[in-house]
C-alpha cells in the first residue's frame, strides 16, 4: 500500500471511531436518563434496568478505542514517522490517550458513570481535529527530526489525557458536593461513587501522572538542548509547561503535607488541568515562540 492509501485509511478509521463514540454517547445517555422509573415520585428507581444500555456503551467505547488506535498508527505509517507533527495529530493521539486512560480506569476502579462526559470530551476533541485542525499527512521539518519527538511528545500526550480525566473527576466531585450540601444528590447521581472515593481517585491519577509529566518536561529540555542550543529558555510553551508542573506540585503538597481534601483540592486540580489545556490550545494557536508546530 502507498502512503496515500494509509492516509485515507487513517481518516476512515478516525471517522468510524467518531461514529462509535457517538453510539457510546447515546448508550450512556440512555443508561443515565432511564435508570429512574418515575421521575415525579423520586422514590422508585432501578439501576439494573438500563444496565444493558451501559454495557453497549462500554463495548462501543472499546471498539472506538481500537479504531482510533488504528487511525493514529496509519497516520504515522503514511508519513513514515511518529504521528505527532502537527496539531491535528496531537489531537487524535491525545484523544487516544484520554480514552485509554478511561478504559484502564474503568477496568481498575469501576467508573462507568464517567462514560457520558468522556464520550462528549472525545467527540469535541476529534470534531475540532477533523474540521479545524486537519492537515494532510506530510514529513517533518528538520527541527522535529529527532528520537526525542517520540519520547517527549508521547509522554506529554499521555499526561494530557490523564490530566483531562482527573479534571472530569474533580469536576464531578464539585458538582456532587454542591448537590449534597443542598440536601442530597439527584436520582441520576445516586449510583456515582462517594465524594471520598472521587477525591481519592483524583489524587491517584495525579500521583500517577506527575512523574510522567516531570519526565515529559525534562525530555523536552533535553531535546531543546540538542535542537536549539539551550535546555530552558522560557519560551511561552516551556513557561506554561512549567506552570502546569508547579500547579500539580502544589496540588500534591496541599494534599499530602497540608492536608487539603475535598473541595479545595478539587479546585486546585481543575486549575492545574486548565493550565495544561490553555498551553495546548492558546499557545499552539495564537502564541509565539519556537514551539509553533501546530501547522495552522
Amino acid at each position: 500500500m502507498t502512503s496515500t492509501n494509509f492516509a485515507y485509511l487513517s481518516n476512515y478509521a478516525i471517522y468510524s471511531a467518531m461514529v462509535l463514540f457517538t453510539l457510546a454517547f447515546f448508550s450512556h445517555a440512555v443508561e443515565v436518563a432511564f435508570s429512574v422509573r418515575n421521575l415525579e415520585d423520586k422514590t422508585e428507581f432501578d439501576f439494573t434496568r438500563t444496565k444493558r444500555s451501559g454495557d453497549i456503551g462500554t463495548v462501543m467505547m472499546v471498539l472506538a478505542l481500537v479504531f482510533l488506535f488504528v487511525g493514529v498508527i496509519f497516520r504515522g505509517i503514511s508519513a513514515h514517522r511518529v504521528p505527532w507533527g502537527n496539531m491535528y495529530e496531537f489531537s487524535i493521539t491525545g484523544a487516544l490517550a484520554f480514552t485509554s486512560a478511561y478504559v484502564y480506569a474503568l477496568w481498575r476502579y469501576k467508573i462507568r458513570w464517567l462514560g457520558l462526559p468522556v464520550a462528549i470530551a472525545v467527540l469535541l476533541t476529534l470534531g475540532t481535529a477533523i474540521t479545524i485542525l486537519y492537515r494532510p499527512s506530510a514529513p517533518l521539518v528538520p527541527a522535529l527530526k529527532s528520537t526525542w519527538l517520540a519520547i517527549h511528545v508521547s509522554a506529554a500526550i499521555i499526561s494530557g489525557g490523564v490530566f483531562l480525566l482527573a479534571n472530569c473527576i474533580a469536576a464531578t466531585y464539585l458538582l456532587l458536593d454542591r448537590y449534597e450540601n443542598k440536601g442530597g444528590r439527584p436520582v441520576w447521581a445516586l449510583k456515582l461513587p462517594t465524594l471520598e472515593a472521587l477525591d481519592q481517585l483524583t489524587y491517584r491519577l495525579v500521583a500517577f501522572v506527575f512523574p510522567l509529566w516531570t519526565f515529559a518536561v525534562i525530555a523536552g529540555a533535553i531535546w531543546a538542548e540538542s535542537a536549539w542550543g539551550r535546555y530552558w529558555g522560557w519560551d511561552p510553551k516551556e513557561t506554561w509547561a512549567f506552570i502546569t508542573w508547579v500547579a500539580y506540585a502544589a496540588y500534591l503538597h496541599a494534599r499530602v503535607t497540608v492536608g487539603w481534601r475535598g473541595r479545595k483540592a478539587a479546585w486546585l486540580c481543575i486549575f492545574a488541568g486548565s493550565t495544561f489545556l490553555f498551553n495546548y490550545v492558546y499557545i499552539n494557536v495564537w502564541g509565539t515562540g519556537r514551539h509553533t508546530y501546530s501547522g495552522l
Binding site: A138, L140, P142, K145, Q200, E225, Y231, W234, T239
Partner: protein
C-alpha cells in the same frame, strides 16, 4: 522599649526563619513562582525577541515605558522573579536539610515504642486469638522493620518513601545549582559564516557574543570549523524544508589535523562543554563592484537575510573604497517570480532561477560617524539614489559611476556556539528528581502495632497509614486472618 534588643532581634529572626521554612509559606511561594512566570509568556521578552520588544515600544510608547519599569520585558531576570525563587529555595533548603539529617540518623534504628493506647489509631482491632510470635514472623516475611518488646511489636515499612521524597527535593536544589553555574560560567554567541569559510573560536569571529559573570574569553576552546558544504532539502510541492546538512572540517586546537563532521539541526558539534548548533541558513550573493575606471573596488559574497519561507532575502552592499562611496540595497530571489502586488519574490527556497534586485546609491555611507550600523542595512541619509536594476546571473549593470556584476551565490549558515558547564548538574538533578519522585509516590509508608491484650487471651492490632495513602486496610485484614487461622 526593648530591654534586650539583641535577644529581640534574634528571636525575630528565628521567627522569620520558622515562617519562611514552614510548609504553608513554601506552598504559597510555589504558587507565586508559577504565577510570576505568566507575564513573560504574554509580553515579548528581550532575551528571546528584542525586535518584538522595540515594536511594542513603537506602537504603545506610554504603556511600554510603564511595563518596562515593572521588568515586564525581562521577566525571568527581574529582581522580583529572582526573589521569589531564591526565597523558595531557601525555604526548601531550610526544610529539607534538617529532615535529611534526621532521616539519615534513623537508618538502622528500630521503630518507635508501641504507644499506650492503640484504640486511638485509625485502624484498631481486638482479637480473641493470635500470638506475638506469629505476628512477628508474618511481619518479617513482609520485610517490616520490627521492634519486639515483651508484650508488643512495633513494625514499620516504607522507609523509602521519605528517602525518595528527600532525594526529590535535594535534586531540585542540584538543578538550581546547575542552572546557576551555567549562567555564571557559561558563554553564548552567534556567528554567520559562508560555506567555504573558516570560523576560529575567538571573540572577533562572532557577530554576537556574551559571557557569564564569572567567565571570560580566556577560557574559550581554541577550535576551528571550516564549512565545506551545505545542503538543504525541500519538499518539492510545498517548499517546506525536510533536511539541512552541513559538512565541516574541524580542528581542535586550531592548526591540528582536520576531521570531517556533519552537523544537523538535532545533532550539534561538541567540544568539551561547548556545543555548536546549526541554527539558520540563507544565501549570500557574490558580486564584483568596479568604479568608473573599471578598477575592482569590491569583490565577494555578501550575507543577505531571509524574509520568508522561500528565502527571498535582503541585504546591503557597501563599497567605502569607491570615490564617491557606493552603496546597494539588494534583494536576492532564489527562484524568481513577479506579480503586481508583491513585486519580485521567490517561489521556491532552492536556487533555480536567481535574480539580484538592486538599487544603487552614492554619497556618504556614514561608516565613520561612530554610530553603530547594521551590515544588513544601508544608511541613506547622506546618499542619493542613482537607479534600480534586476540582474540575472553573470549580468553586469553599468551606472555611470561604476558597475556591478552578479557573479553567483553561496549559502551561509548561522552557527550558535554555547558553553554551559552547568547543564550536566541540571541533567543529573532531573534524573534523580524523577527517581526520587517515583520512589516517594509509589511507596506506602505505614506502621502496624501488635500488643498482647490485657487479659492475655489474644492480641490487639492497630495500624496507621502516613499521608492517608490507601492500602493499609487490606494489609491489616490479611494479618487478622493470619492471627485467626
Amino acid at each position: 522599649m526593648t530591654l534586650v534588643p539583641e535577644l529581640e532581634a534574634r528571636s525575630l529572626s528565628r521567627w522569620l526563619w520558622r515562617q519562611l521554612t514552614s510548609m504553608r509559606t513554601a506552598l504559597i511561594l510555589l504558587l507565586l513562582f508559577g504565577l510570576a512566570a505568566i507575564p513573560g509568556s504574554i509580553f515579548p521578552q528581550r532575551s528571546q525577541n528584542p525586535l518584538a520588544v522595540s515594536d511594542y515600544f513603537k506602537s504603545n510608547p506610554g504603556t511600554a515605558k510603564f511595563l518596562d519599569e515593572l521588568n515586564m520585558f525581562d521577566v525571568y531576570s527581574s529582581p522580583w522573579f529572582s526573589s521569589i525563587y531564591i526565597l523558595l529555595f531557601i525555604s526548601l533548603i531550610g526544610c529539607v536539610l534538617p529532615r535529611t539529617i534526621e532521616h539519615l540518623k534513623s537508618v538502622g534504628a528500630k521503630p518507635p515504642l508501641t504507644p499506650k493506647n492503640l484504640d486511638r489509631m485509625e485502624f484498631f482491632f481486638e482479637l480473641e486469638t493470635g500470638t506475638l510470635d506469629r505476628a512477628e514472623s508474618w511481619l518479617k516475611k513482609r520485610h517490616f522493620r520490627i521492634r519486639r518488646d515483651v508484650d508488643s511489636i512495633s513494625a514499620e515499612k516504607g522507609f523509602m518513601r521519605e528517602s525518595g521524597n528527600l532525594a526529590f527535593h535535594l535534586s531540585l536544589i542540584l538543578i538550581l545549582i546547575g542552572v546557576g553555574a551555567g549562567s555564571l560560567f557559561g558563554m553564548k554567541g552567534d556567528a554567520i559564516i559562508n560555506v567555504g569559510d573558516r570560523f576560529i573560536n575567538i571573540p572577533t569571529s562572532y557577530d554576537v557574543i556574551s559571557f557569564g559573570k564569572l567567565e571570560s574569553e580566556k577560557n574559550m576552546n581554541p577550535f576551528s570549523i571550516t564549512a565545506t558544504d551545505f545542503k538543504a532539502t525541500y519538499e518539492l510541492t510545498t517548499g517546506v524544508p525536510s533536511d539541512y546538512k552541513l559538512t565541516v572540517n574541524i580542528a581542535d586546537p586550531v592548526g591540528s589535523k582536520e576531521v570531517a563532521k556533519v552537523v544537523r539541526v538535532n545533532s550539534p558539534l561538541t567540544f568539551g562543554s561547548t556545543k555548536v548548533y546549526l541554527q539558520a541558513n540563507g544565501y549570500a550573493p557574490i558580486v564584483t563592484v568596479r568604479d568608473k575606471t573599471g578598477e575592482v573596488k569590491y569583490q565577494g559574497a555578501v550575507i543577505f537575510l531571509p524574509q520568508d519561507g522561500n528565502l527571498t532575502s535582503i541585504g546591503a552592499i557597501k563599497v567605502p573604497d569607491a570615490e564617491p562611496q557606493l552603496g546597494f540595497i539588494g534583494s536576492f530571489v532564489p527562484t524568481f517570480a513577479r506579480n503586481s502586488q508583491r513585486g519580485a519574490f521567490s517561489t521556491y527556497p532552492e536556487v533555480l532561477d536567481p535574480r539580484l534586485l538592486i538599487s544603487v546609491w552614492t554619497g556618504n555611507l556614514g561608516l565613520d560617524t561612530g554610530r553603530p550600523q547594521s551590515v544588513y542595512r544601508l544608511d541613506t541619509t547622506a546618499m542619493t539614489r542613482l537607479s534600480l536594476k534586476t540582474l540575472e546571473l553573470h549580468e553586469t549593470f553599468d551606472f555611470n559611476e561604476g558597475s556591478i556584476t552578479f557573479e553567483g551565490w553561496t549559502p551561509w549558515v548561522n552557527l550558535q556556539i554555547v558553553k554551559d558547564p552547568g547543564k550536566i548538574y541540571a541533567l543529573l538533578g532531573s534524573i534523580f528528581a524523577i527517581l526520587g519522585l517515583l520512589m516517594s509516590l509509589f511507596t506506602r509508608s505505614r506502621r502496624i502495632w501488635v500488643k498482647t491484650s490485657a487479659d492475655k487471651s489474644g492480641v490487639e492490632i492497630a495500624g496507621l497509614a502516613k499521608n492517608s495513602v490507601p492500602g493499609l486496610e487490606s494489609e491489616i485484614a490479611a494479618l487478622i486472618n493470619e492471627m485467626r487461622s
